[in-house]
C-alpha cells in the first residue's frame, strides 16, 4: 500500500483513530467521564481537547445512562458521537439506552431515525480491578438485535476497526481489552510484559484506513485444531498452543456481531476440532453461541466435542484474579481435551 506506518501501542492507536476522524469530520464528537482536559483514565483521548477544542472532546457527568442518551440524540441529529464508558463494568446504567433505544431506533422508526454512535469501553481483567473493573459483558450485547459488538486484539485492528465503527451507520459497541493496551499479553502475569513496539501488529499505518467488521484474523495456521478467541484470549491462545506443541488455526474473531461464521466453519471442517476461549463467565457466555453455531455448521466434521475454556461463573475476584483468569494452563488443558489426550 505504501502507507507510512508508526509504532503504536493500542491506546495510541485508538487515540490516533479518534484524531483522524475528528480531523476529517467535524461531526465527530468525543465525550465521557474524564475524557476532556485530562484525556481519560487510560489516556485514550489525551490531547484531543487541546487539539480539536473544548466542544469536540469534553467531560460528562458520571452518568452512563446520560452519556448514551445524549449520544443517541446527537447521532439521530446528524453527528457522529464517540462516547467513552470508563469501564465496561459501569455500562449497566446505560444498558436501557443501548438496548431499548439506540439499537431499536432505526427499526421502530422504519429507518426514519437512526443512531450511528460508537461506545468505547475497556473490558477484561489483568489489572487487579476486582469485581468492578474487570468484567467482560459482551454476551449481554451480542443478544441485542440492532447493535454491533466488536473487540480488537491489537493496535492495527484497534485503529482500523474504530474508524469503521465511527463510519458505521448503526450503533457499535467497541470493546477494548485493557490488558492489551500496552502490549500482547500471553497469560502469565509473572513474565515481564512485552511491548507492542516489538510486535508486527504494533505497526500502525498513519492516516485513514479501515478494518471491516465480520472477518476473522488468522493468528496462526495449523491442521490440529481450531481455536476461537477474541480480545486478550487471542494471545493466551497463541502461547498455550505453542507450549502444548500443537499447530492450531487460531482465529481472532474481531467482530462478535456480525460474526464471520463462514471462516470459522471452514476452519473447523478442516481441523475437526474446536476450542472456544473467553475471559467472561461461562454460562450463557458468547462461547455458548459460538459452540452452538459451530455444532450446527460442522457437526459431521467434528472428531471431538467442542470445548469451552472460560472464566469461572463467579464475579471477577480481586486477590484471586489469576485463579479466575483462563490462563495458559487452563487453555492447555482445553487443548488436550479437544485433542482427545485428556
Amino acid at each position: 500500500m505504501g502507507q507510512a506506518t508508526k509504532r503504536m501501542n493500542m491506546i495510541e492507536a485508538i487515540r490516533d483513530a479518534l484524531d483522524v476522524k475528528m480531523t476529517e469530520d467535524s461531526d465527530v464528537l468525543v465525550f465521557g467521564e474524564d475524557v476532556g482536559y485530562f484525556g481519560g483514565v487510560f489516556r485514550a483521548t489525551a490531547g484531543l481537547q487541546e487539539k480539536h477544542g473544548l466542544h469536540r472532546c469534553f467531560d460528562t457527568p458520571i452518568s452512563e445512562g446520560g452519556i448514551v442518551g445524549i449520544a443517541i440524540g446527537m447521532a439521530s441529529n446528524g453527528l457522529r458521537p464517540v462516547a467513552e464508558i470508563q469501564f465496561a463494568d459501569y455500562i449497566y446504567p446505560g444498558y436501557d439506552q443501548i438496548a431499548s433505544e439506540a439499537a431499536r431506533l432505526r427499526y421502530r422508526s422504519n429507518g426514519e431515525f437512526s443512531a450511528p454512535l460508537t461506545i468505547r469501553t475497556p473490558v477484561g481483567g489483568g489489572i487487579y480491578g476486582g469485581t468492578t473493573h474487570s468484567q467482560s459483558p459482551e454476551a449481554l450485547f451480542t443478544h441485542i438485535a440492532g447493535l454491533k459488538t466488536v473487540i480488537p486484539s491489537n493496535p492495527y485492528d484497534a485503529k482500523g476497526m474504530l474508524i469503521t465503527a465511527i463510519e458505521d451507520n448503526d450503533p457499535v459497541l467497541f470493546l477494548e481489552p485493557k490488558r492489551l493496551y500496552n502490549g500482547p499479553f500471553y497469560g502469565d502475569p509473572h513474565i515481564p510484559s512485552v511491548s507492542w513496539a516489538k510486535h508486527e501488529l504494533g505497526d500502525v499505518p498513519e492516516g485513514h484506513y479501515t478494518v471491516p467488521f465480520g472477518s476473522v484474523r488468522r493468528i496462526t495456521e495449523g491442521p490440529d485444531l481450531t481455536i476461537l478467541a477474541y480480545g486478550t484470549m487471542v494471545w493466551v491462545a497463541e502461547a498455550a498452543a505453542k507450549e502444548a506443541g500443537v499447530q492450531a488455526d487460531i482465529l481472532d474473531l474481531r467482530a462478535l456481531l456480525p460474526l464471520d461464521i463462514e471462516a470459522i466453519a471452514e476452519s473447523v471442517k478442516k481441523t475437526g476440532r474446536c476450542l472456544i476461549l473467553h475471559e467472561a463467565t461461562r454460562t450463557s457466555g458468547f462461547g455458548a453461541e459460538l459452540s452452538a453455531q459451530v455444532a450446527e455448521a460442522c457437526f459431521f466434521s467434528l472428531e471431538a466435542p467442542i470445548v469451552r475454556v472460560t472464566g469461572w461463573d463467579t464475579p471477577y475476584p480481586h486477590a484471586q484474579e489469576w485463579a479466575y483468569f483462563p490462563g495458559p494452563k487452563r487453555v492447555m488443558n482445553g487443548i488436550r481435551k479437544v485433542m482427545g489426550q485428556a
Partner: protein, 413 residues
C-alpha cells in the same frame, strides 16, 4: 399532610378518592389571581423558583384573558388552535371506537390534554424537534401531518410508513419534527438534550422539546436529562405532563406529595414553570417563553403542565377500577376545548353554532379520512404489511445471519 409522630412507620401514599367515593376537589384552590409575573426569558434561573410552585394561568373561567402571560395571538390563530384540539379529539374518539371493533390492537386517547400538545406545538417553530410520548398526537395535528398516514400506522396496514414495526400511536414523523416515540417511558428526555446539544454545536438556533408523563419522572432518565441540560445549557424544553394518573397510580406515587414536578428543576439550576395545562393560552405562553430562552442561549426550562387524563391510560385500561367514575367531570380546571371556546366567545370571535358546526365538521372529516385509511387494510384484514419487512431496518444493511433467517422464514411459508 400526614401526621408526624416520634416513630417511623412505612407510609404509602393513597389518592384522596377511590371508586365509590364522591370526589371533592374544592381543596385545590384554583388561583384567581393569574399567576406569578412573566420575567424576561433570559432571566436567572432562580427568578423562576416561585413559578415552580404556583400556576401560570391566562384564561379565567368566564373566558377573560388576563395578566402579563396573555399571548398576543390573533383570533385566527386561536381558532386554529381550537380546531386542532377538536380534530385531535375527534380522531381519538374514532380510533378508540375502531379499536373496539378490532381494527387495531390498541389505542391511546389524549382527551383533556389536547391543549398541552396543540398549544405547545403552535408556540414552537416547525423545525424544532419534539420528543413526544404517546399522548401528544396534537403536535402532529397542529403541524399538519397527514392524518391518513397516522391512521394507517395505527391500523398496521399497507399504508403504514413504519411497516407494522411499532404498536399504534408510537408514530415517527421526522418531517414534522416528531421524533419516533419510544414505548419505554422517560428514555427520550435525555435524547432530546443530546439533540439540542447537537443543534447548539452546529450553531443552529433550533431547539428540542421533550415530554414525559409525571409517572416516568421517577425514571433515572428524567434526572439525567435535567442534569445534562443544566451542565451543557442545552437548548431544550423538558415537559412534564402531570395528568394525575400513571395508569392506575396517582401522582403522589411518582414523587411523593410534598412538592410539584416543576420544582424538581430548581435543584438542577433550570428555569421552571408550572402551567395550567387546560389553559390553551397559558400553555402557549409558557412554551413561547421557554422556547425563546432556549433559542437565545438561556438554556433549558422544565415545564410542568398541570392537567387531567380524562380517559383510561389506553384501550387496555378501565379507570373506573381505581378512581371515581365522575372524577374527570369534577376536576376543577375544566376542559381545554371548552375553555378556549369560552374565551373565543367572550372576545366575540366565536359562537355556539359555529362551535357545534365545527365539531360535526371535524367528526365528518375524520370519518372520511378513516374510510380512506381502512381501504388499505387493518390489523384484522388480510392486506396488512408484508411479513418479510420485519427483517428490514434492524441494521442499515442486512447482515449475513439475518439473511440466513430470511431464507429460513421462507421455508416456513
Amino acid at each position: 399532610m400526614t401526621k408526624k409522630s416520634n416513630q417511623s412507620r412505612l407510609y404509602v401514599p393513597e389518592p384522596p378518592f377511590r371508586p365509590g367515593d364522591t370526589p371533592d376537589y374544592s381543596h385545590i384552590a384554583v388561583p384567581a389571581n393569574h399567576s406569578p409575573p412573566r420575567p424576561d426569558p433570559l432571566c436567572e434561573d432562580h427568578e423562576t423558583v416561585e413559578h415552580a410552585t404556583s400556576l401560570i394561568r391566562v384564561m379565567r373561567f368566564n373566558g377573560e384573558a388576563v395578566g402579563d402571560w396573555a399571548p398576543k395571538l390573533t383570533a385566527d390563530q386561536k381558532r386554529k388552535g381550537l380546531r386542532d384540539m377538536m380534530l385531535t379529539r375527534a380522531m381519538d374518539d374514532r380510533m378508540f371506537n375502531m379499536q373496539r371493533q378490532g381494527k387495531m390492537s390498541f389505542y391511546m386517547k389524549s382527551r383533556g390534554e389536547e391543549a398541552v400538545s396543540v398549544a405547545h406545538a403552535m408556540a414552537l417553530r416547525k423545525d424544532d424537534m419534539t420528543f413526544p410520548t404517546y399522548r401528544q398526537q396534537g403536535i402532529l395535528i397542529n403541524r399538519g401531518a397527514p392524518i391518513k398516514e397516522m391512521m394507517c400506522q395505527c391500523l398496521s396496514n399497507a399504508g403504514d410508513r413504519l411497516q407494522g414495526k411499532s404498536i399504534p400511536v408510537l408514530y415517527s414523523f421526522r418531517d414534522y419534527g416528531f421524533f419516533s416515540v419510544s414505548g419505554n417511558l422517560g428514555t427520550q428526555m435525555i435524547q432530546a438534550v443530546g439533540w439540542g446539544m447537537a443543534e447548539a454545536y452546529k450553531d443552529s438556533d433550533g431547539i428540542a422539546s421533550a415530554f414525559t408523563g409525571e409517572g416516568a419522572t421517577a425514571e433515572g432518565d428524567f434526572h439525567y436529562a435535567l442534569n445534562f441540560a443544566s451542565t451543557y445549557r442545552a437548548p431544550v424544553i423538558l415537559n412534564v405532563v402531570n395528568n394525575q394518573w400513571a395508569i392506575s397510580s396517582f401522582q403522589g406515587i411518582a414523587a411523593g406529595e410534598g412538592e410539584t414536578f416543576a420544582a424538581r428543576g430548581c435543584g438542577f439550576g433550570l428555569a421552571t414553570l408550572r402551567v395550567d395545562g387546560n389553559d390553551f393560552l397559558a400553555v402557549y405562553a409558557a412554551t413561547q417563553w421557554a422556547a425563546e430562552r432556549a433559542r437565545k442561549g438561556g438554556g433549558a426550562t422544565l415545564i410542568e403542565h398541570f392537567t387531567y387524563r380524562k380517559e383510561g391510560h389506553s384501550t387496555s385500561d378501565d379507570p373506573t377500577k381505581y378512581r371515581p367514575e365522575n372524577e374527570p367531570e369534577v376536576w376543577p380546571f375544566g376542559d381545554p376545548v371548552d375553555r378556549l371556546k369560552t374565551h373565543l366567545i367572550h372576545i366575540g370571535e366565536w359562537d355556539e353554532d359555529r362551535h357545534a358546526a365545527q365539531a360535526e365538521e371535524c367528526k365528518v372529516e375524520i370519518r372520511n379520512i378513516y374510510k380512506e385509511a381502512e381501504k388499505m387494510g387493518s390489523l384484522s384484514s388480510a392486506t396488512n404489511v408484508n411479513d418479510f419487512t420485519m427483517f428490514e431496518q434492524v441494521y442499515e444493511e442486512l447482515p449475513g445471519h439475518l439473511q440466513a433467517q430470511v431464507e429460513a422464514f421462507k421455508e416456513e411459508l
